[in-house]
Amino acid sequence: MLAGVERIRADARAATEAIAELDPEAVVHLAVTSVPAEPGGRAAMKEQNVIGSMQVLAAAQAASGLRKLVVRSSTAAYGASFRDPAVFTEDTEPRAVPRGPFARDILDIEGYVRGFRRRRPEVAATVLRFAPMISSTAETSLTRYFAQPVVPTVLGRDARLQFVHVEDALEVLHRSVIEDHPGTYNVAGAGVLMLSQAVRRSGRVALPFPESALSTGAALLRNLGVEQIGLDQIDLFVHGRVVDTSRLIREFGFTPRTTAVAFEEFIRAHTAGSTVTADRLATAERAILDGIRRVRAAAEATPAGVPAGSDRS
């Protein structure tokens, strides 16, 4: 797929030089991380997300031959509030600045894209707001979370989740480069899985914690460098996030596979940690039903008041 493609490994600053040198027709900016990486932590993450995007967009703005800009964003751009509508369309504004670092970075990046659109209105700028990606092989903080045998959840909350299959995300990206689709698009699989439902379907065991305990616990673990579950994930698990994808389907002429189908594929590749599988439940159901039938048959065969075996004489 990448035959005949020259690859340049460079950090954001060097990438800006490369853009200036190559005078490209299209710039696709995907370097956005959702969790703090090991060396550098949150500072490095912000450096890459915000400063990196700023530099790339500045370089793109200076490229005179540019016709197209594609920027990866996330549905985290809608923030998380209790007064949010249940389904976000592309026009929904976040009600407050979100507390999660990734969501804040996303809002900054989209702000830079807005500035870019103002200054270079002739360039077709596409912003793709991706739902959390999932597939049999993808490795994200969310897939690691669902791969655990016991999954921590928020007590008294059950989030509505949506996923997008990695291949569908790539297809949308591909089409946004070879076709012209200026604007902002939600990219997610249709349908909704509740967090509890997703945990049950994957055969895992949910372990609910109060929200405050989960926040402090996650912060402690983060300091120890164990698991990278952050405020972004906790906000997602408290509020849930569902987007409307009718604009994507209409403009791109492409329907990503549904959330349930994408998640099903993930489950099939991660059966190792599951304890309560659908098969085991079905077996248990049959066993209990047979047991009850046998007990009832025995009770009916023995009329009340007549001790068993008394008719043998």
């Binding site: 209790f82 007064r83 949010d84 509508p85 249940a86 389904v87 369309t89 929904t92 928020v154 007590l155 008294g156 909350r157 059950d158 509505r160 349908g191 909704v192 899985l193 509740m194 509890s196 439902q197 997703a198 945990v199 049950r200 379907r201 929200e211 849930g240 569902v242 309560v276 659908a278 439940l281 079905a282 248990a284 159901e285 209990i288 039903l289 009850i292 039938r293 009832r296």
Partner: protein
């Protein structure tokens, strides 16, 4: 300008509106509603208990395996029909002896905005309305409630509300549900309605900015006013401890004859007699372009309000004894 000319010039909505003349009162208080018996009794001698056990186990297995569907608002029809509705129906039928009038005014299909009066300290009237709709409507429709954001702030409560089909009261959600052909239930009085004192019972409070009307106008959905009598007497509010309410972050802290005196026992509602009357729908399809006209919106909201108020008085005449049979 003569009166006629003036009337021709005004915007649609209020000018041609007249309260319907009430029909002669027929008292329903004093006779018990006919008890319902489940119609589908298997008469062929099949093993009923075996069937029930098998169904129950299959339900449990589906729940534990996550093999059910939830819509984008979090509505879980299976759980609602198997768990919430049967529990609420006991309250609806045996405790409140609810009678439903005018169910034929609710459209058989397509969107509809059901607008009701709100009362009763805890929003039991909204829940009873969903039961009435499921129980009495020929198509057994689900009513999708719009709730205050306070409901969705509370853990557990928020998830129960979503699973039962409710969502946050905001125009995007309401319009999305209505364009999806759902029946939406809204109580524009909000906390002013359920938190009012017993002395102010059956006096409709302010209807806010009429956001529900603009949502209906934008989608061309008919508005069905509904009057609910009986909820005012279930927890009569004698006083409202405002400082305590502010401390707890709730809109009001009610003092009823039984709460907080009897503690959790005060949560048992008094067994008042309930009447629910659906009024004829107000079509809005011809007014779509006026969705942003504050005057049309306000007039329509007023029309809905007056219809409900008049129907409430009518129902109260039918029910002279709040705790009668």
């Amino acid at each position: 300008m003569s009166q006629d000319e003036y009337r021709r010039d005004v915007l649609p909505g209020h000018a041609e509106f007249q309260l319907p003349t009430p029909a002669p009162v027929q008292r329903v208080n004093g006779r018990r509603p006919i008890p319902e018996r489940p119609a589908d009794r298997p008469a062929d001698g099949a093993d009923v208990w075996d069937q029930r056990v098998a169904e129950g186990l299959a339900f449990l297995r589906r729940r534990l395996a996550g093999a059910y569907e939830v819509d984008e608002f979090g509505f879980d029809p299976e759980l609602t029909d198997a768990l919430f509705q049967p529990i609420l129906k006991v309250l609806y039928r045996d405790w409140f002896r609810t009678e439903v009038l005018g169910i034929e005014n609710v459209p058989a299909e397509g969107g509809g905005l059901v607008v009701g009066n709100h009362s009763g300290t805890l929003a039991l009237d909204a829940l009873m309305l969903t039961v009435a709709m499921r129980d009495k409507h020929p198509q057994e429709r689900h009513l999708r409630l719009l709730g205050a954001d306070l409901v969705f702030r509370m853990p557990v409560m928020s998830e129960l509300a979503r699973a039962a089909g409710a969502t946050v009261a905001c125009n995007p959600d309401a319009e999305r549900l209505m364009t999806g052909g759902q029946l939406v239930g809204v109580f524009p009085e909000g906390f002013k309605g359920i938190g009012k004192r017993f002395a102010d019972r059956y006096k409709l409070q302010r209807f806010g900015r009429g956001g529900f009307v603009s949502a209906a106008l934008r989608t061309g959905t008919p508005i069905i006013p509904v009057a609910i009598v009986g909820a005012e007497e279930i927890y009569p509010i004698l006083a409202d401890l405002k400082p305590l309410a502010r401390l707890l972050g709730v809109p009001y802290f009610p003092v009823t004859p039984t709460f907080p005196l009897l503690g959790p026992l005060g949560l048992v509602p008094l067994p008042s007699k309930w009447l629910i009357q659906f009024c004829p729908p107000i079509p809005t399809a011809h007014l779509t372009e006026f969705a942003d006209d504050p005057l049309v919106v306000y007039n329509l909201a007023d029309q809905v309000r007056e219809t409900i108020q008049a129907t409430l008085h009518e129902l109260l005449e039918k029910r002279p004894d709040a705790f009668g049979p």
